[in-house]
Symmetry: C2
Subunit: 142 residues, 2 copies
DNA sequence: CTATCATAGTTACTCAGGGTAACAATTACT
DNA sequence: AGTAATTGTTACCCTGAGTAACTATGATAG
């Protein structure tokens, strides 16, 4: 019974946290004319150099048409470009120079935002929370 | 520098967790023809008995028209009803008997879902995570 | 007590983001 | 060689959410 109470709280707390988080994140990103789905892809490509649309879809847990749209917008903006590969089916994308520049600029805003929302939470707690979130994600995905 | 790394990881981990969480939650809720915004309102009304649309908007961190729409759908389904109050401007809502019945039924599914995704995470860790999420939410909202 | 200001909610319009189904092009496999 | 599977796209539909403009009601200052 006690456990059930905890579970309910966890669930509701999580749902309640996401909306303000997303709202504020969008405010930060809109300073650079970006949306969070686009930002997430910039982040991935910056750290992994290049990726196919299917890899991006798995990363974001969305369907392929969603990625097609997001990438199309990023291509229009000139932030990503197509890099040819052996397999002619796949469309491997990477950041352009402009994309890298924009990413680094927005990174500053995002870092500041993260520091603001994590104020008063110790390093250990953050690491613990990161680990727990990872475990939950594994539980969900498998 | 180490701190910055933590912040980046935390942030990205959170973004990454939400999508699978939402996808699976929608699967659970769709068994009962509900969406998560509607579920969240049922939950609030079940625990707080009644609420005005503005109170619900604050709870969910959304604008008023969003709540108007969600409530309209819940009214059509016969899950909530209008309870008259002194202030004729406000529209105070509460669950109908059917609404309470549905809530209790879905509650079982949701509890099971929560237990599944929290498998392998101790009670203490869950409580810690709940507390941290609360602190982050306060940081964002203020 | 009236005029102004504030609050609650609705309507109309717009947008982001995502899903499914059907399809073409290419590659892998038997 | 012929059939599977994979990759990506297009078309169409839906949820969820925001802004601006509005009505109706209540609160307050003079």
């Amino acid at each position: 019974m006690f456990l059930i109470e905890i579970y309910q709280k966890f669930f509701q707390q999580f749902l309640l946290l996401y909306r303000p988080f997303e709202n504020n994140l969008n405010i930060q990103l809109s300073k650079h004319d970006l949306h969070r789905a686009q930002w997430s892809i910039l982040h991935f490509l910056f750290n992994y150099d290049s990726a196919t649309l299917v890899e991006l879809a798995n990363y974001q847990s969305v369907e392929k048409p969603t990625i097609t749209r997001t990438i199309a917008r990023l291509e229009e903006l000139g932030y990503v470009e197509h890099v040819p590969s052996k397999d002619k089916r796949e469309k491997r994308m990477r950041l352009t120079e402009l994309g890298k520049k924009i990413y680094s600029e927005v990174r500053v805003t995002i870092d500041q935002y993260e520091q603001d929302i994590l104020k008063g939470i110790t390093e250990e707690e953050q690491l613990a929370a990161i680990r727990i979130m990872g475990e939950i994600r594994n539980n969900i995905i498998k």
